[in-house]
């Protein structure tokens, strides 16, 4: 109101800032009329709904197990907000979703998916199968095609046959079942490593026998230790889930460098 009154009655101040009314052109003198002091410059206010809070997710599928690892550092620019954040949600006795990206989107997405999984159980009286969660998560993300969740998901679990299943997503719901996956801040450092030691890409010395859960856990630890050396958003510790056929899901913590 004060602005309107002043502007109307006296052709009043042209700008306001936290310092008060800007001096009028007459006060500065004709020569300075076009110069606007920096402290009272026009500030463009933009809607910035997204932030990247780090988060790296890794999953390795095996014959009858899947190992999921996700880091616990929550960062914003050069700050560490906490060293102990949870980026994962256990959806059923055989299914875990872990997500990197904008943490407020991550928590909301996890709540939505968890709710829909519980609804499914009430409606159909059975635990939802992993591939059904995969489809439902894809649809949920696509439902926000034009204002997406800034969230990078890796969904892991056992499939209907008890085999390890890993699904990897983009932010708008395109997904694919893969043998192993990594998403988030450390993705570019970890994927080549997994290609080498899990996928045996371009190698001729692929060993006989299947990957064991223990070996997969060690690969996951090595991957995060390596990524933490070079990527400032990766560090502090990781949560490791082991989901194996016929055994209860296990969750473990493993410390990595904190600087």
């Amino acid at each position: 109101m004060a602005f309107a009154a002043a502007a109307a009655s006296s052709g009043g101040p042209a700008f306001f800032s936290s310092a008060g009314a800007a001096p009028m052109a007459a006060d500065i003198g004709p020569a300075a009329a076009t110069v606007v002091p920096k402290s009272v410059g026009i500030k463009e206010h933009r809607f910035e709904p997204y932030d990247f809070n780090g988060g790296t997710v890794l999953a390795i599928g095996g014959k009858d197990f899947v190992v999921v690892a996700v880091d616990t550092r929550l960062s914003e620019d050069y700050h560490i907000l906490t060293r102990d954040v949870n980026r994962s949600v256990v959806l059923s006795p055989h299914c875990v979703l872990a997500t990197g990206g904008c943490h407020t989107d991550v928590t909301t997405l996890h709540k939505v998916i968890d709710m829909r999984v519980k609804d499914y159980k009430h409606d159909h009286e059975v635990d939802i199968e992993t591939h059904s969660v995969a489809q439902m998560l894809g649809n949920t993300l696509y439902g926000r095609r034009f204002f997406p969740y800034y969230a990078f998901n890796v969904l892991s679990g056992l499939d209907a046959e008890g085999k390890g299943a890993v699904y990897t997503y983009d932010a708008v719901g395109s997904f694919e079942r893969v043998p192993y996956a990594c998403q988030g801040a450390g993705q570019r450092l970890i994927i080549p490593y997994l290609d080498n030691v899990v996928g045996f890409k371009s190698r001729t010395d692929k060993p006989e026998g299947d990957l064991t859960p223990e070996a997969a856990v060690n690969i996951a630890k090595d991957a995060f230790i390596t990524a933490a050396e070079r990527q400032i958003r990766v560090g502090d510790s990781i949560r490791i889930f082991t989901i194996a056929r016929g055994v209860a899901m296990k969750e473990a913590r493993f410390a990595i460098r904190e600087d």
Binding site: D123, H124, E125, V126, I128, H131, S132, Q135, M136, N139
Partner: protein, 253 residues
């Protein structure tokens, strides 16, 4: 039923002093007038047999469709007002496709029965806010026969006008259902094969139908875990009906 319902049968939103909704009970009666539907589960799959009422030689037989495919793993057959059944069938088909879209899997038969029953009991004196409501109960019972992929077992459910569903090992609705049910109680066993069940369905339809059975007025379909919804071919149907005639002749010489 009661000689004097004292006007309590005029509306669907008022209980009688005995605690009944008469319109629902009358709807149940409408089903007994409908043509016979028989469903039998076996470990190998599930069989659904129906009587088709061909009331005139001028009727196109194929235009009478009594058993329908809801989804590749479920069949439905109804007894009662066919027009009402079409609404329910349309609803059931949409539910199945929605579930596949959302969860990438077939809808369980019990969930489908629940969703049909939700629609069946949404009748009433709908006000301004609910124009699509049925003003009366649906005049049909629906028998759903399908394969439950989560249990790895057949599933047979019956939805009635009160909005209740019940699961069965074997069941019959419509005209002659009482006779059919008592026969099924005797003949059903855990070890029944699909072929035996098909024969049993043919025998029961032969017994309950007023008309003499033929490939024109009987339809039999099967749902198996691998083949899904599959109507029995005309040759197979003729063989089953011949078997039914032979069985009847053997019992009553």
């Amino acid at each position: 039923m009661y000689e004097n319902n004292s006007g309590y049968d005029r509306g669907v939103s008022t209980f009688s002093p005995e605690g009944r909704i008469f319109q629902v009970e009358y709807a149940m009666k409408a089903i007994e007038l409908g043509s016979c539907v028989v469903g039998v589960t076996t470990r190998e799959g599930i069989v659904l047999g129906v009587e088709k009422r061909i009331t005139s030689s001028l009727m196109e037989k194929d235009s009478v469709e009594k058993v329908v495919e809801i989804d590749s793993h479920v069949a439905a057959a109804s007894s009662g007002l066919t027009a009402d059944a079409r609404t329910l069938i349309e609803h059931a088909r949409v539910e199945c496709q929605n579930h596949r879209f959302t969860f990438d899997e077939p809808l369980r038969i019990e969930s489908l029965a629940q969703s049909i029953c939700d629609l069946m009991m949404s009748f009433g004196e709908g006000g301004e806010e609910n124009k699509s409501k049925m003003s009366r109960p649906f005049g049909v019972s629906v028998l759903l026969a399908g394969w439950d992929h989560r249990r790895g077992a057949p599933a047979l459910f019956c939805c009635d006008p009160s909005g209740t569903y019940v699961g069965y090992k074997a069941h019959a609705i419509g005209n002659g259902a009482d006779t059919a049910r008592s026969t099924l109680e005797e003949s059903w066993s855990e070890t029944l094969t699909l072929a035996e069940a098909e024969k049993e369905v043919a025998v029961i339809l032969r017994r309950t139908m007023e008309e003499s059975v033929s490939a024109d007025n009987v339809e039999i379909i099967r749902v198996t875990p691998t083949g899904g919804y599959a109507p029995v071919s005309e040759e197979e149907l003729k063989a089953l009906l011949e078997h039914a005639e032979a069985a009847a002749a053997a019992v009553a010489p």
